[in-house]
C-alpha cells in the first residue's frame, strides 16, 4: 500500500494511503479525544470531538472521517480546537440527563472522563431536562435514554459485527432516539440475538446489564478487535 507523508502538529509523519487522519494520529501516538469512534466499527463523524484544523479548509474537520492526504498540514490541538471540544461536551451534557452521581457507569464512563480530561468543569447552556424513558423489557439488558449521546456504536456493532441490525435510530435532531426493531420494546425484539455487544461498546450508562447499581457497570470493548482479527485475518488470540 502506498505511503504518504503529511504534517501533524509541525512534525512530518507517514501514513498509509487511505487511512483517516485519526488513524494516522493514533499510529503515531498523537492523542485525539473521541466518543463515537471505535476501532473495528465504521467511522461516523458524529460526536465531533476529533475535530482538527486542516490547512486550507475554512472549517474544522472530523479526523475520523477525513482521509489523510499527501502534504496535508494538520493541527490537532490549539486554543480554538480545545474550546470547541469543551463546547461540544457541554452541549452533550445539556441535551440529556447525565446525572453522573446516580449512573450505573459512574467512574467507568467515557463521557465523564473526557469532561474531566478536557477541563469541562461546568455547562454554560441551559439543561434541556428532556423526559426520557428506560426500557428494561429485555431479560438481561436495559437501555436508559437519559444517558444516550447518540454515538450509534450500538447501531453499528449490531449491524456490522453481529449482523442482526436490531438497533436503529428514529426521529431527527434533538428528538432522535435509538430504537430496537421498529421501536418495539427490546424484550419483544425478534432480531436481537441477546449477544450483548451493544452493551459492551456503549461509552456511557445508556446500555447496561440489568441488576447493575450505581458505578457497578464496567464495560470492555476490546473483544471487538479480537473477534474482527479472527474473522478478517484468521488470527485468533486473546
Amino acid at each position: 500500500m502506498p505511503v504518504i507523508t503529511l504534517t501533524i502538529n509541525d512534525e512530518l509523519v507517514s501514513a498509509r494511503s487511505g487511512q483517516s487522519i485519526l488513524e494516522a494520529c493514533r499510529d503515531h501516538d498523537i492523542q485525539l479525544p473521541t466518543l463515537c469512534y471505535l476501532d473495528g466499527l465504521s467511522a461516523r463523524g458524529g460526536c465531533r470531538l476529533c475535530l482538527v484544523d486542516v490547512a486550507g479548509s475554512p472549517r474544522l474537520l472530523p479526523a475520523c472521517t477525513t482521509e489523510a492526504l499527501e502534504n496535508m498540514v494538520v493541527t490537532t490541538h490549539n486554543e480554538k480546537i480545545d474550546r470547541y471540544r469543551r463546547m461540544i461536551l457541554e452541549l452533550t451534557f445539556a441535551e440529556r440527563n447525565h446525572t453522573c452521581a446516580v449512573c450505573v457507569s459512574n467512574e467507568n464512563c467515557e463521557l465523564q472522563s473526557l469532561a474531566a480530561e478536557l477541563g469541562m468543569d461546568h455547562v454554560r447552556y441551559d439543561y434541556l431536562n428532556p423526559e426520557l424513558n428506560l426500557d428494561t423489557s429485555h431479560e438481561r439488558y436495559g437501555v436508559d435514554h437519559n444517558r444516550c449521546l447518540l454515538c450509534l456504536r450500538c447501531v453499528r456493532v449490531c449491524d456490522e459485527v453481529e449482523g442482526a441490525h436490531t438497533w436503529d435510530v428514529m426521529g431527527r435532531g434533538v428528538e432522535s432516539r435509538v430504537i430496537t426493531d421498529l421501536n418495539r420494546p427490546w424484550g419483544d425484539s425478534e432480531s436481537c440475538t441477546d449477544c450483548g455487544k451493544c452493551v459492551e461498546v456503549c461509552p456511557t450508562g445508556a446500555l447496561f446489564d440489568k441488576g447493575s447499581s450505581v458505578a457497578e457497570m464496567k464495560k470492555e470493548a476490546s473483544f471487538l478487535r479480537r473477534i474482527l482479527d479472527g474473522r478478517e485475518k484468521r488470527q485468533w488470540q486473546r
Binding site: 440527563n97 452521581a101 449512573c103 474531566a116 477541563g119 468543569d121 461546568h122 441551559d126
Partner: protein, 181 residues
C-alpha cells in the same frame, strides 16, 4: 489590626443539596485544625451566624438553587463574597436536586404534600419557600469563580482548592480530581 481580623473569612452555605459536601468537608479531619488557624468560619451549617455576613473572602456553596430563598441567599453571597465556589455536583450541574426539573412544580408538590403518606402535609406549603420552576446550577443564578465537582467532592479535592485559595494561587485541579459524580 488584631490577629482575628487578619484571618481569611470563610463561609460555607447549604442550598438545595443533601449536606454530603459538608460531611466531606468535615472529613478533612485533622487538616481542619490547620485550616482554622488560618481562617475564621463566619457562616454556615457548622456555625451559629443567622445572617450571611459582609466581607467574606471565600464562600463554598453546596447545593442547587431550587427555591426563592436559595436564590435570594445566592445573590447575597455574591454581593458579600470575594470568591464564590460551586461546591459539589449539585451546585456545579444541578445533579440529583435537578432530577425534578422535568416534573411541573404543581404536580411535584401535589405528589409530595397532598398525596404521599408523610408526617408533613399540605399545611407546610404555606410556610415553605416557593420552588423555582427548575433547580439551577449556582452559576445560572450568580457568577461563580471556581468549580469544585464531585458527589461529594473528596476531602483531597476540597483541601487542594482551599489551600490554593488561602495561598492566593490559581486553582488547578488535575483531571482525576475534577470528575463529576
Amino acid at each position: 489590626m488584631s490577629e482575628q481580623q487578619k484571618k481569611i473569612r470563610l463561609a460555607t452555605v447549604w442550598l438545595g443539596g443533601c449536606s454530603g459536601c459538608h460531611m466531606s468537608f468535615l472529613d478533612l479531619d485533622e487538616r481542619l485544625i490547620d485550616l482554622l488557624e488560618q481562617v475564621e468560619l463566619v457562616y454556615g451549617p457548622l456555625v451559629d451566624a443567622k445572617e450571611f455576613p459582609q466581607d467574606v473572602d471565600i464562600c463554598l456553596v453546596e447545593g442547587a438553587v431550587t427555591n426563592v430563598e436559595n436564590l435570594e441567599l445566592a445573590r447575597t453571597i455574591r454581593n458579600n463574597s470575594k470568591q464564590v465556589i460551586s461546591f459539589g455536583d449539585c451546585a456545579v450541574t444541578g445533579n440529583v436536586t435537578s432530577m425534578r426539573n422535568r416534573i411541573p412544580v404543581k404536580d411535584l408538590l401535589t405528589a409530595v404534600y397532598h398525596e404521599a403518606q408523610a408526617p408533613i402535609g399540605a399545611e407546610s406549603l404555606k410556610v415553605l419557600p416557593a420552588l423555582l420552576k427548575k433547580a439551577l446550577p449556582l452559576h445560572q443564578a450568580v457568577k461563580v469563580d471556581i468549580y469544585l465537582p464531585g458527589c461529594p467532592p473528596a476531602p483531597e479535592r476540597i483541601a487542594t482548592v482551599v489551600t490554593a485559595l488561602l495561598n492566593k494561587q490559581p486553582v488547578e485541579l488535575q483531571p482525576e480530581m475534577r470528575t463529576f459524580g
